[in-house]
C-alpha cells in the first residue's frame, strides 16, 4: 500500500522519461502521456479510497525514520488534490492532442506536461518544508518552459514577468525555510508542528509565518502579489493556460492551507486575521480587474484571482466548516476554471480570436458550445444547483457562524460581479450577432491565431466530462461536502497527521 504514495510521482516521471526517449515520434509521446495521465488519475483515486478507509498514510523515503528522512504524507486533503490534479492532467492531455500546434507537440510539450504534473503531485504529497520547495521548483521550471515554448513575442513578454515574480517568490520561500530551520531546528512538517509551540519568543515564529505568507501569496496570486498572473496566463496556447489556471495557483493555496493549519497556528489572531483581510481584498481587486477586461482569457485570468480570495477566506476564518468549504471550493474551482479555459479554446478555434469585440453569434451557430459555457460560468458565479453554489453557501455559513459579517458581505457582492462578467462574456461572445467589421490583428495576439478550424472530438470530450462533473458536484453535493468536512477535521486536528508521520511518540 505504501506504493500508492509514490506512484503519483513515479508515473509522470516514467511517462516523461519514456516520452523523451520517443523524441522523434510525437504520436507516441501523445499516447504515452495520455496513458500516464490516466494512470495517475487512477492511482489518485486508489490513494483517496485508501486514505478514506485507513486514515492518514505516510511513507519514509529510503527508510530513514522521520524527522531525518524525506517523508511523503497523504491525508484526505492531499489525496483529494492528487485526484483532481490527475483529472485536470488527463483532461488537458487529451485536449492538447488537437489544440496544441504540431511544432510545440514535437518539441517536448508532453514530457514537460508530465513533469509539471509530477511537481504538482509532489508538492501535494510531501511532508517536509524543504522538499516542498524542491517540488515547487520542479513545477516552476516545467511551467516556465511550457509558458515560453513556441517563442511568440507575447509569450516571451508574459514569461519574463511570470519567471521573475515566481523566482522572487522562491527566494522568499528559501529565506523563510532558512530562518525557520534556524529557529526551530527541523524542517519536517509534523516535527515542526510539535516543536513550534515551544519556541520562545513566539514573535520569531510569527515573523517567519508572514514570510511564508508572502512567498505562497505570490504563488497563489493573492492581493497584492498577483500582477504576474493576468500579464502572462493568456499568452501560451490555451491548453497550457487551462492547466496553469486549474492547478498552479491552487498549489500555492494548498501550501498556505497546509502550513497555516499545521505549523503556524500559535498566533491565529494575528496571522489568520491577515489572511482574512487579504482574502477580501483579493476577491474585490480580482473581480474589478475582470470587469474591466475585453478578452476572453484575460477575464478568466482575473477571475482566478478573485476565486483565490474565496479559497483563502476559508483558511482565514479557520473553523472546520470554513476549511471544508475551502477544500470543496478548490475542487470546484479547479474543474470549473479549467473547463472555462477549454471552452474559450474551442471558441477560438471556431472564430480565430479571443477578443470579445470580434466574437459573436456563437449561440446561433453552436448552441451546444453555448450550453457548455453556461454550465461552468454559472457554477463560477454560484448559481444553484451547480457546484459553486454549495461551495459559496458553505463559506458564507461558516462566515456567519463566527460573525465575520463584513467578509460575508464582500463575498456575496463579489459573486454578483462574477455573474455580471460571465454574462458579459455570454452577451458578447455568444448572444450578439457576429460582427461583420474587418478583423484587425491586435499586437498581443499570438501569431498562430486567426486560423479557424472545426474543433476535433478530443476538444469536446474533456469539456463535456468536466461540465458533467460540475453538475454532479452540485446535484450530489452531500457526499463531497462530507468528504471535505472529514478532510478539514484532519486539518484542524494535526495530532493524527503528526502521529502518522512520527509514530505514536509522546
Amino acid at each position: 500500500m505504501k506504493w500508492l504514495l509514490v506512484l503519483p510521482l513515479l508515473i509522470p516521471l516514467a511517462a516523461a522519461a519514456v516520452s523523451l526517449l520517443a523524441w522523434r515520434w510525437p504520436h507516441w509521446q501523445q499516447r504515452l502521456s495520455s496513458v500516464g495521465a490516466v494512470a495517475m488519475l487512477a492511482t489518485g483515486i486508489a490513494l483517496l479510497e485508501n486514505v478514506r478507509r485507513g486514515g492518514i498514510q505516510a511513507v519514509q523515503i529510503g527508510d530513514w525514520p522521520a524527522p531525518f528522512g524525506i517523508t511523503l504524507v497523504a491525508d484526505l486533503f492531499s489525496a483529494i488534490m492528487v485526484v483532481i490534479a490527475g483529472l485536470v492532467g488527463t483532461a488537458v492531455t487529451f485536449y492538447s492532442h488537437a489544440s496544441v500546434d504540431w511544432r510545440r507537440q514535437s518539441f517536448g510539450y508532453y514530457p514537460l506536461l508530465q513533469i509539471l504534473l509530477m511537481g504538482v503531485c509532489g508538492a501535494f504529497l510531501t511532508g517536509d518544508v524543504f522538499n516542498l520547495y524542491v517540488w515547487f521548483e520542479v513545477m516552476l521550471i516545467a511551467s516556465f518552459v511550457l509558458m515560453a515554448l513556441g517563442g511568440e513575442r507575447a509569450q516571451m513578454e508574459g514569461a519574463m514577468k511570470y519567471v521573475t515574480l515566481n523566482l522572487v517568490s522562491s527566494a522568499f520561500f528559501l529565506a523563510a525555510v532558512g530562518i525557520l530551520y534556524g529557529v526551530v531546528g527541523t524542517l519536517n512538517m509534523a516535527d515542526l508542528a510539535q516543536k513550534v509551540p515551544h519556541i520562545r519568543p513566539q514573535v520569531l515564529v510569527t515573523a517567519v509565518a508572514m514570510l511564508f505568507l508572502v512567498a505562497f501569496g505570490i504563488k497563489a496570486a493573492a492581493f497584492p502579489l498577483f500582477f504576474w498572473l493576468p500579464a502572462s496566463y493568456h499568452t501560451p496556447p490555451v491548453a497550457v493556460s487551462a492547466i496553469f489556471a486549474g492547478l498552479l495557483t491552487k498549489v500555492g493555496v494548498y501550501a498556505l492551507i497546509r502550513v497555516f493549519t499545521l505549523i503556524f497556528v500559535t498566533d491565529t489572531g494575528y496571522t489568520h486575521t491577515w489572511i482574512l483581510v487579504l482574502s477580501g481584498l483579493t476577491m474585490v481587486t480580482g473581480v474589478l480587474g475582470a470587469v474591466a477586461q475585453n478578452e476572453f482569457r484575460r477575464i478568466l485570468s482575473f477571475h482566478i484571482i478573485s476565486q483565490i480570495g474565496y479559497m483563502i477566506m476559508g483558511l482565514g476564518l479557520y473553523t472546520p466548516l470554513a476549511l471544508a468549504a475551502s477544500v470543496f471550493y478548490i475542487v470546484h474551482h479547479i474543474i470549473v476554471k479549467t473547463n472555462l479555459f477549454l471552452v474559450s479554446g474551442i471558441a477560438n478555434s471556431l472564430r480565430g480570436t479571443y477578443q470579445l469585440k470580434q466574437l459573436g453569434g456563437l449561440y446561433r451557430d453552436h448552441p451546444g458550445l453555448a450550453f457548455l459555457f453556461l454550465v461552468p460560468a454559472f457554477s463560477l458565479a454560484g448559481v444553484p444547483p451547480l457546484s459553486g453554489f454549495f461551495a459559496k453557501l458553505a463559506l458564507i455559513q461558516a462566515g456567519l457562524e463566527v460573525g465575520q459579517y463584513f467578509i460575508v458581505a464582500t463575498a456575496l457582492g463579489v459573486s454578483l460581479l462574477t455573474l455580471f462578467s460571465m454574462i458579459k462574456i455570454w452577451t458578447e461572445a455568444f448572444w450578439k450577432p457576429e460582427p461583420a467589421t474587418e478583423k484587425v490583428l491586435l499586437a498581443d495576439e499570438p501569431e498562430t491565431a486567426r486560423q479557424t478550424r472545426p474543433p476535433a472530438l478530443t476538444l469536446w470530450v474533456p469539456v463535456v466530462v468536466l461540465a458533467a462533473l460540475t453538475v454532479i458536484l452540485g446535484l450530489a453535493a452531500e457526499p463531497f461536502l462530507s468528504l471535505a468536512l472529514q478532510a478539514s477535521q484532519q486539518l484542524m486536528n494535526p495530532a493524527g497527521y503528526i502521529e502518522a508521520v512520527l509514530g505514536s511518540q509522546p
Binding site: V145, E152, A159, V168, P230, A231, G289
Partner: protein, 115 residues
C-alpha cells in the same frame, strides 16, 4: 562573524532587489542571481555558524560531541544552488530569446501583455 554574515546577506538582498527594479532585463537576471545567493547565505547564517568543529563521530561514540557544525543546512544550500543554477540558466536563455523577439532590453517596452 554572525554580524558580518548578516550584513552580507542584507546587502545581497538589497542589491538584488535594486537590480530587479532596474529596467534592463540583463540587470534583472543579475538581481535574481543575487537574491538566490542571499537566500543561500541566509540559510547558512540562520542555522548557526560553528567554527572548526566538523560533525565527525569519534570512534566508539554514536553521536558527535556538541558543539559541532550542523551539516544539514549545507546539504540544503547545495540543493538550492543546483536548483538556482538550472533556473538561472533557463532565465538567461529566456532573456536572450526575449531580446531577439522584442528587439529591446528595456522592460518598459514589454507592456503588450499587461493590463
Amino acid at each position: 562573524m554572525n554580524l558580518v554574515l548578516a550584513l552580507v546577506v542584507g546587502s545581497l538582498f538589497a542589491g538584488g532587489l535594486y537590480m530587479l527594479l532596474r529596467r534592463s532585463i540583463v540587470k534583472l537576471i543579475i538581481g535574481l542571481a543575487l537574491l538566490s545567493h542571499a537566500g543561500n547565505l541566509l540559510i547558512f547564517t540562520a542555522a548557526g555558524v560553528t567554527r572548526g568543529r566538523p560533525p565527525l563521530i569519534a570512534e566508539g561514540a554514536t553521536v558527535p560531541a556538541p558543539p559541532f557544525a550542523d551539516p544539514l543546512p549545507q546539504a540544503l544550500i547545495l540543493t538550492a544552488i543546483v536548483i538556482s543554477f538550472g533556473v538561472l540558466a533557463f532565465a538567461l536563455v529566456l532573456v536572450h530569446r526575449t531580446h531577439q523577439s522584442v528587439g529591446s532590453d528595456d522592460l518598459d517596452d514589454m507592456k503588450a501583455t499587461d493590463t
